[in-house]
Symmetry: C2
Subunit: 342 residues, 2 copies
């Protein structure tokens, strides 16, 4: 186990890499600990988890809503959780998002730590302090930004991770490569999905590189004035189709990235060859590259996206692989372009 | 209209005194405005309010809960509210608390302003950024700390304020006098409830003095490490009996302050004469000074109070009128003392 610290605004966040869950005891003081997790993880890791008081709920994005928040708050009250109770969110992005949100609002704020157990949560959801819940089809409509005390990386959890969740994680990894790291993009072309899935050292290095990319972006722009917006690459279109069709987050982002590449060709002189490279890479990691969707419903949802204001959206385009740009596009322009390119 | 600015941590809050609601236009940019208010106020001030989009709900502490939050969020989505929408909370403490909370969590944070319309909200609830909702009998169990852009004081709203709400407001004013301002305590003894209710100049001065007291305390200690705890005088016992018996906040705080005076005599050499003065003052402002309550239920609720941890509570005692002190009292000591003194 070794530690790297990132400074976000006023708050230091410690990342513990190559750790084992049992080592988490060392990080905890004599505060009351409550673990928040989902039922699937609890079944897999009951022995380790049940040493602590646990609140668990059904796994999946469909449960990232106010009902689960209400339930967890009731359970916290039953456990006598207080301002000095320390929450640990152990799970994928749904668990880390909900834990962060509960920590932000319960008794006006508790301290918390995150133990991401999926590739996606390790490289993305657990980092940066954004938390939230969905309201119907609107993703992360309610939430805050609150940093955890620590993020704890135990790669053993990946052993029980279903292949489809590995695929979801690689969507965000490829996103990081597209917006920020052409060298990592080449690495992803060089190795295979299978190699990353089976070679512990290779995936550990890749995850740590991605933690660094996201943490640096967040550290520079925690409240998303400018550079943090790059992380929305593929997500403007992705978020809208994700909840509309209930498809996995990584699939939605992958489709969104290809759409954004097409727009980048049209509006930003992005090369056709680069789009082809990105499509090949996404395909190699089992990610879908397009789908038909209802444009009218899509735009209804897009209008309520947090990124959308003044009848337009700050859209993330690519200039080249590894270099992103923000461009304000009016909704009517976007509508015309999407009709033509998608 | 004149402006005083207070600096809380990183955030400047502007207080506009002696203002008229119609002047609020001057403070607003071309952002979308949404007013959040209660039905009683809407009925009284429909003409002024309905110039803006409005979300209104039934008045009263019983509605300060997640159901109302869910309702307001739905209405905001219907109105197409976005990250650059500006919320205005117009009402008493319930409205200002809920508006602040919605502003903290909707799309991870909107800007907002408050127009307190009760004495209590003007001198207390609207100031300091604490927001929250109740969970069953537990007061302000869920919430955050988020400062408004401005607080807008239009004393005309007091003309329709029921007498019982004036009484509630004076409980917090007397609290400020007890913990921080012996001179104001003497003023409150010199004038009468009727004089403050009918003399616009007198009540305006009193309110502005109280805004100053609370703002200074919050500015020094926004996140309640030390001095902000003084504001909890009367509230540890007060909060527990308020929701348990559904009595008005001011009544509960008044009863809580007398209980805290009795404890202060016992544990802090507070003089019996001073307690008698405080009881006389509370009575002059139509506030109750004691009630019988179920000690067992009381302690069950107290255990879940945010101020309670490590099996004890940071209790606010008085040293003399105008001077408060914090003392950690274990729950068992508190139980014994309350049995003897209340």
């Amino acid at each position: 186990m070794y530690k790297i610290e990132y400074l976000f605004s006023q708050k230091k966040v410690s990342c513990y890499f190559d750790a084992e869950f049992s080592d988490i005891q060392e990080l905890l003081t004599d505060q009351q600990i409550v673990i928040i997790t989902d039922e699937v993880l609890y079944t897999h890791y009951e022995k380790e988890i049940k040493k602590f008081p646990v609140i668990k709920f059904a796994a999946g994005e469909a449960h990232k809503n106010q009902s689960i928040v209400d339930y967890i708050i009731e359970e916290l009250i039953k456990l006598g959780a207080h301002k000095n109770t320390f929450l640990i969110g152990l799970g994928g992005g749904v668990v880390t998002d909900i834990t962060g949100y509960i920590a932000a609002v319960y008794m006006r704020g508790l301290s918390f730590g995150l133990v991401p157990t999926t590739v996606l949560a390790m490289v993305d959801a657990a980092i940066g302090g954004k938390n939230g819940i969905d309201v119907g089809v609107y993703k992360n409509m309610i939430g805050t930004i609150r940093q955890p005390e620590f993020i704890f990386y135990d790669y053993n959890f990946l052993e029980t991770l279903p292949t489809k969740e590995w695929v979801n994680g690689f969507a965000e990894i490829i996103k990081h490569a597209c917006i920020k790291d052409a060298v990592m993009f080449s690495d992803l072309e060089k190795y295979t999905f299978h190699q990353y899935k089976t070679d512990r050292k290779l995936i550990a290095e890749l995850i740590e590189k991605n933690v660094l990319i996201k943490s640096q972006i967040v550290a520079e722009d925690e409240f998303e004035k400018e550079e943090r917006k790059f992380l929305n690459f593929g997500h403007t279109i992705g978020h809208a189709i994700e909840n509309l069709y209930g498809i996995p987050h990584g699939h939605a982002v992958s489709i969104g990235m290809v759409a954004a590449c097409n727009l980048s060709e049209k509006l930003n002189n992005f090369s056709q060859d680069a789009t082809a490279r990105i499509i090949r890479l996404l395909t190699a990691y089992h990610l879908p590259i397009n789908m038909e969707f209802d444009h009218q419903k899509f735009f209804e949802i897009l209008k309520m996206d947090k990124k959308c204001m003044n009848n337009g959206v700050h859209f993330i385009l690519l200039k080249s692989i590894g270099h992103a740009q923000i461009k304000f596009i009016s909704l009517s322009d976007l509508e015309n372009n999407i009709k033509e390119t998608i």
